[in-house]
């Protein structure tokens, strides 16, 4: 009885967590990369915007961001309908700051000599970027990006306090019907998160090995 209920609720929660994770990952990656492009651009106001964004969102607790999007956005008549998208907004905006930093440092850890060598053989700006800088930056970015996604996975749990029925929500919800199930709830929910974390780091390792043959 408990077991079947546990599995079915974990499955529900797992699905919600995965959805949160998937959408936030996608949006944060796109937004974060755009911000990183701003941060390395030679245009001062865009650089300033990128820097401010990172400093603001990296230093704000995620809970406060959730508070602003979940309670505050409807006040502006934005996203009134959906808790899910408000949660995704908070998670994406927060995570984008970290993606931005990771991508930026991925670009910056490509040695200047590589770009100079590319310029020296007569490649233009776009060619240098496309054939030399970005492929190497991409490779530098994979491991830290995986770390960001793992942090994001864990951060999705904050949504459970803001109207979302994700994995973490099931912890207290199950106790209601099965008092005394706390330890099993915790262990099995933790196992679900560890599973996601393991998949992400496994995928990153695989990916890194494929693009990183030369090391």
């Amino acid at each position: 009885m408990y077991l079947s209920e546990l599995t079915s609720r974990l499955a529900d929660g797992f699905l919600v967590t995965l959805q949160l994770l998937g959408w936030s990952m996608l949006i944060a990656t796109v937004l974060g990369t755009a911000l990183a492009a701003m941060r390395v651009s030679p245009i001062p106001p865009l650089r300033a915007l990128g820097v401010s964004y990172v400093n603001v969102f990296r230093n704000t607790p995620l809970v406060v961001l959730f508070l602003i999007t979940v309670v505050g956005l409807p006040e502006l008549n934005l996203l009134t309908g959906s808790f899910f998208w408000r949660a995704v907004t908070a998670l994406s905006m927060y995570t984008a700051a970290f993606v931005c930093e990771v991508v930026r440092s991925g670009i910056n850890t490509v040695q200047v000599g590589q770009a100079e060598a590319a310029r020296s053989v007569g490649l233009t700006f776009t060619q240098t970027l496309r054939h030399v800088v970005l492929p190497q930056a991409f490779r530098n970015v994979i491991p830290p990006l995986a770390s960001v996604y793992i942090a994001l996975t864990k951060n999705t749990s904050v949504a459970s306090a803001f109207g979302i029925l994700d994995l973490t929500y099931q912890l207290s919800d199950l106790i209601e019907d099965f008092p005394g199930s706390l330890y099993w709830n915790f262990i099995s929910i933790a196992a679900c998160y560890i599973l996601i974390v393991a998949v992400i780091s496994g995928a990153a390792a695989l990916f890194e090995r494929r693009v990183g043959v030369s090391r």
Binding site: S160, G163, S172
Partner: protein, 272 residues
């Protein structure tokens, strides 16, 4: 700053030099001239600490003052301590607080570990909706597919989800639920009527408690288990407040603000 127009609430009578049997709990309190009461801080109308205020307000608070008054303790000599749902029993057991008046439903399980007497108020699960929806949502039957907010892990939520097919939206506090109701993100909030009334009282034009209660919650006062003498005193005090009108006054100045009628005075359990 909410509910009553002044933070003192209704005027409570403070007994001058009450007489108590030597060595009784009441005598100790009266002697000390102070008492520590565990209350909720986050339920407007019931037990609520406004930001920046130093004393809470609400029906539970008024009941606390009545009890203290009977012990000869003035309201300003009461120490209000916040209790949350999970720590009421341990706080009583460890003596962190002297009594608990915190929307504390009387149940058999709780009576195994602490003393509970009353009820001084009987309520039940009800539904809070926006004023404009009071025609469309009139009871739990209308909650099918409706986004319904309550506190994470509460029975109230599983009741409406399992029995009436509501779409659950769990939050940490009822206040969050009410905020979401006001900004249109959820359609209904459900929990004890008393708590809902507290919110309705704060925004009588916007919010409405609808339908009959569909469960029974009996709020009691928690005390150290086994102190029958003190239990008797609490019962006498509550009974006296029924009779001298201070109970009704306490209700009207808090939960009654929303315009609901003052309910029947519930029959008290006897102390074993």
């Amino acid at each position: 700053a909410c509910g009553g127009d002044d933070s003192e609430g209704a005027n409570v009578e403070v007994e001058e030099n009450p007489e108590f049997p030597e060595g009784s709990t009441m005598a100790e309190f009266a002697e000390a001239g102070q008492i520590e009461i565990g209350v909720k801080f986050d339920q407007p109308g019931v037990g609520f600490m406004a930001p920046g205020a130093d004393v809470p307000t609400g029906f539970d608070i008024e009941m606390g003052k009545i009890v203290a008054g009977a012990l000869g303790i003035a309201p300003e000599d009461i120490t209000w301590t916040e209790t949350v749902s999970d720590n009421r029993e341990p706080f009583l057991q460890q003596g962190t607080v002297d009594i608990v008046i915190a929307s504390y439903s009387i149940t058999e399980e709780r009576r195994q570990v602490v003393g509970q007497t009353g009820p001084y108020y009987v309520t039940g699960q009800q539904i809070l909706v926006r004023e404009e929806d009071k025609e469309t949502i009139t009871g739990p039957e209308d909650l099918a597919q409706a986004k319904t907010c309550s506190v994470t892990g509460s029975t109230s939520l599983s009741n409406v989800v399992d029995d009436y097919g509501a779409e659950p939206v769990p939050f940490d506090t009822y206040s969050d639920c009410v905020t979401q109701l006001q900004n249109g993100s959820v359609d209904a909030v459900t929990t004890d009527g008393a708590i809902l009334l507290g919110y309705a009282a704060q925004a009588p034009d916007e919010l409405e408690v609808v339908g009959e209660t569909f469960s029974e919650e009996r709020y009691g006062i928690g005390y150290q288990k086994g102190d029958t003498e003190f239990c008797e005193f609490l019962n006498e005090t509550i009974q006296a407040s029924y009779e001298d009108g201070s109970w009704a006054e306490a209700f009207e100045s808090t939960l009654g603000e929303s315009g609901v009628e003052t309910p029947e005075q519930p029959e008290l359990d006897s102390c074993q």
